[in-house]
């Protein structure tokens, strides 16, 4: 049986048996050493292979039913949750995952039947549908924040209500400003959550575990800094490498030694590529904003075919300082508060402008995911600011999760039009 047909069989089976039991069975099946060996052959890069191997064994732990489970939104301090040995589901990432498996038609229609408006972000709609359909293990805790957007606060609270764990629902209220009072306000919330969850887990909080998590997180940070530095020069990427594929380890698994290891491997792999790179490529350099579609699509191939390569993504930028493990809560608060998607849009604009300069990009693409008010709302200013430094921006309308909301013909035409401009500059 070829690799492609194994993959197709697995996906087929998931699409036709949508429940938690079949997800468990499938996870078991792929983890079989022979199947996994064959499956692993389809990865062209060492980092991708490591990521998939690790994600798979992690998912098995999540689904095995022996560990307390927490759902969390993207930018919360996962160092805390990982230090408490919670197994994590990131519904937004899972929204992307459902797209990859091609089951979003079903999850989105479930959400629609449960009164989720089609005007809302599909990451959240699909995740809510999947949670309703019991595709994820039942959570013991739900933690979310209004970073980067309003969506998680509400959709996660709704899930907490459905699972009847309102007393185990935590909303981290992210301040608008970045000053001492705001930082303290945030740090106190994080500290309360840490102790409250420990209490509910009936464990004595071991602050040393949290410190270790911060040390791991710092390691990840320093490898990522190196990775990004390499990428300033690198053209010759491993095939299919895409920084946006690493959202789970970068955020959800931060604080674990495995996530730090993944970034060490990535650094090594990309460094080796850079060493072998004979001459700077002729490709035009593109900065990517927001996320990408997580179903099979041709966007990055079209770019490549037209002489353009994504060399940096806003979301993989290292925006936070090294953390002090001796002051875990204030350090984690400071990491959260430094996120450029928080507060004033100027934070994001500054990050984009400095990346554009650092990576010497020729153009930028903002993937305008349907229903993402926080990101798309800034598009016009981003376009104007980038134009000031003579960088064209393509605002590419689409949907990261729902392929039906992302007509491929239109996308192709728009990218080709854009690359023509870039190549003529």
């Amino acid at each position: 049986m070829g690799i492609v047909s194994i993959k197709e069989k697995i996906i087929d089976s998931i699409q036709n048996n949508l429940d938690i039991k079949s997800v468990r069975k499938i996870l078991k099946l792929i983890s079989n050493p022979i199947v996994f060996f064959l499956y692993g052959l389809s990865f062209k890069s060492v980092s991708d292979k490591y990521l998939n191997k690790y994600s798979l064994s992690y998912m098995r732990e999540v689904y095995c039913g022996n560990h307390p489970i927490a759902y969390g939104s993207l930018f919360i301090p996962y160092e805390i949750l990982n230090s408490l040995n919670l197994k994590l589901i990131l519904p937004e990432v899972m929204g992307g995952f459902t797209a990859g498996l091609g089951v979003t038609d079903k999850t989105l229609s479930n959400a629609a039947n449960n009164w989720y408006s089609a005007d809302l972000c599909t990451f959240h709609r699909s995740a809510s549908g999947a949670a309703n359909m019991s595709l994820f293990p039942k959570p013991d805790f739900i933690i979310c924040s209004n970073l980067a957007c309003d969506a998680a606060c509400k959709s996660f609270e709704d899930m907490a209500k459905k699972f009847e764990i309102e007393d185990r629902f935590y909303l981290i209220d992210i301040p608008y400003e970045n000053d001492e009072i705001s930082l303290k306000y945030l740090a106190v919330q994080l500290e309360n959550i840490y102790f409250d969850i420990s209490d509910k887990l009936k464990i004595k909080p071991d602050i040393n575990n949290l410190k270790k998590a911060l040390i791991n997180s710092n390691k990840l940070r320093s490898h990522l800094l190196e990775v990004n530095k390499i990428r300033e020069e690198l053209f010759d990427y491993p095939q299919y490498y895409n920084g946006l594929s690493y959202i789970l380890p970068l955020f959800g698994l931060s604080g674990t030694s495995k996530a730090a290891e993944l970034y060490r491997i990535m650094e090594k792999e990309l460094k080796a590529k850079l060493r072998k790179q004979i001459q700077p490529g002729k490709m035009k350099k593109i900065l990517w904003m927001h996320l990408k579609p997580y179903y099979r699509n041709e966007i990055f191939n079209i770019l490549e075919e037209n002489g353009c390569r994504v060399v940096c993504e806003e979301i993989t930028d290292v925006f936070w300082e090294e953390m002090d493990p001796e002051k875990p809560f204030i350090s984690l608060a400071s990491k959260m508060i430094s996120n450029p998607l928080r507060g004033n849009g100027q934070n994001r604009i500054n990050t984009i402008l400095s990346m554009a300069e650092k990576y010497k990009v020729d153009g930028a693409i903002l993937f305008s995911h349907w229903g993402c008010r926080q990101s798309n709302g800034l598009a016009r200013i981003l376009k104007d600011r980038l134009a000031e430094i003579k960088i064209p921006l393509l605002i590419l309308d689409g949907d990261c999760v729902d392929k039906n909301n992302c007509p491929s013909g239109q996308i192709k035409t728009r990218i080709e039009g854009f690359t023509e401009i870039i190549n003529s500059l």
Binding site: N146, G343, N344, Q346, R373, G377, R380
Partner: protein, 380 residues
């Protein structure tokens, strides 16, 4: 006898339209922004209504963006008499509006008031701190000494009188089954209260209520035909749209306990009490923060469970027959809250409909048909 709103509130309407009061004007966008601070700084608080007609905002914001944000942006573009604008961290849409004002309308001073989503002690202290910063900002606009916080107390008492009067008006409106206060008149009066000079409005509202009372007494003795026998609750966000309210003008319904930004959430704010707790400053800002954080919550705030409990209590207490959930389009905070609410309403067997409102650009004919069909169904 019909009481004409334009006549009863002529001076109030003039006070917001002509603006020759000699005082500056500060626009604000959210019911969590305390008008008393604006008024104390000798400025007229103006709940910005927005320009709903023009299409300039479409060049700036995506198509699927809050129509209120767009309308405000539109108005700011054309409004040259504003001294400042106060925004609140209500939602991602308003966060972006702040960016647009700061980038494209540099001349207009803007302040972003950070409103916590929670109501615990730490959030309260944080909110009080932010209110103090707002006060300093306002004093800077009008050259008032920020140290003189006594003027806030004086201003609070005027604004609180307005709130008390609006509550009284609501009591009469909700109890009045003869439609002496017509549905659209009630919402029109609230709209006037949002942008007029407070003292003028208070006086006019007081006389209006007197007239209503005497009309009602006479009416009750002569008539006993009930015009409104169906009680409907409207739940949603910033529904402040005369075209929308006029749909209800001649309908045989009463809009009770509406849970939207311009009704109870706007005026049901307790007179501030001293709030003392270890670690909190015992000052006027903490008191105001406390009053505002304990007012009827908007969907943006955490704790959907207690929000739903409040709504359920209102439905039972007032024998509500049906709920209209009306949301300005693309409002994430409100749209994400609907599934939980709909579930509760279904459990209670309360019929409901969901309406998307375009704010000024809605197809009112279609809305009217849907509302009429809903009411017909309730009548069966």
């Amino acid at each position: 006898m019909e009481i004409k709103i334009e006549e009863s509130f002529a001076d109030s309407i003039k006070s917001s339209a002509s603006l020759n009061t000699g005082r500056g004007m500060v626009a604000y966008t959210c019911s969590y922004i305390p008008e008393e601070l604006i008024a104390a700084a000798n400025l007229i608080p103006y709940r910005v209504y927005g320009n709903k007609e023009s299409n300039l905002a479409d060049k700036y914001f995506p198509i699927n963006f809050c129509p209120y944000v767009k309308a405000v942006w539109e108005e700011i573009h054309h409004n040259t008499i504003l001294d400042a604008i106060i925004l609140a961290t209500s939602c991602d849409g308003i966060r972006r509006l702040n960016d647009y004002i700061s980038y494209y309308e540099k001349e207009l001073p803007v302040f972003m008031l950070d409103i916590p989503r929670k109501s615990d002690k730490d959030s309260l202290g944080f909110f009080a701190h932010n209110l103090k910063n707002l006060w300093i900002f306002l004093c800077g606009i009008s050259n008032v000494d920020p140290g003189n916080t006594d003027i806030i107390k004086a201003s609070s008492s005027i604004i609180n009188r307005k709130r008390t009067l609006l509550k009284e008006l609501t009591k009469h409106y909700e109890a009045d089954m003869h439609q002496i206060i017509k549905n659209d008149d009630y919402f029109n009066i609230i709209n006037i209260s949002l942008s007029s000079e407070t003292d003028t409005f208070n006086n006019e509202l007081e006389s209006y209520i007197k007239k209503i009372k005497s009309l009602k007494e006479n009416y009750d003795t002569v008539h006993n035909d009930f015009k409104s026998n169906l009680k409907i609750m409207i739940i949603g966000n910033y529904i402040n749209d005369n075209n929308f309210w006029s749909i209800f003008e001649n309908l045989n319904v009463k809009l009770i306990s509406s849970d939207i930004c311009i009704t109870y959430r706007y005026f049901d704010i307790g007179l501030e009490k001293n709030y003392e707790a270890p670690g909190l400053e015992n000052d006027i800002f903490t008191d105001i923060a406390n009053s505002f954080i304990s007012k009827p919550a908007c969907f943006r705030m955490a704790d959907i469970k207690s929000k739903l409990n409040d709504i359920k209590a209102q439905i039972y207490e007032n024998n509500i027959n049906g709920v209209i959930f009306a949301s300005l389009k693309f409002c994430d905070n409100t749209l994400y809250s609907f599934p939980a609410l709909k579930n509760e309403l279904n459990k209670m067997k309360i019929p409901s409909i969901f309406l998307d409102i375009e704010y000024g650009k809605s197809s009112y004919g279609q809305l009217k048909t849907r509302i009429e069909a809903f009411i017909e169904m309730l009548n069966l």
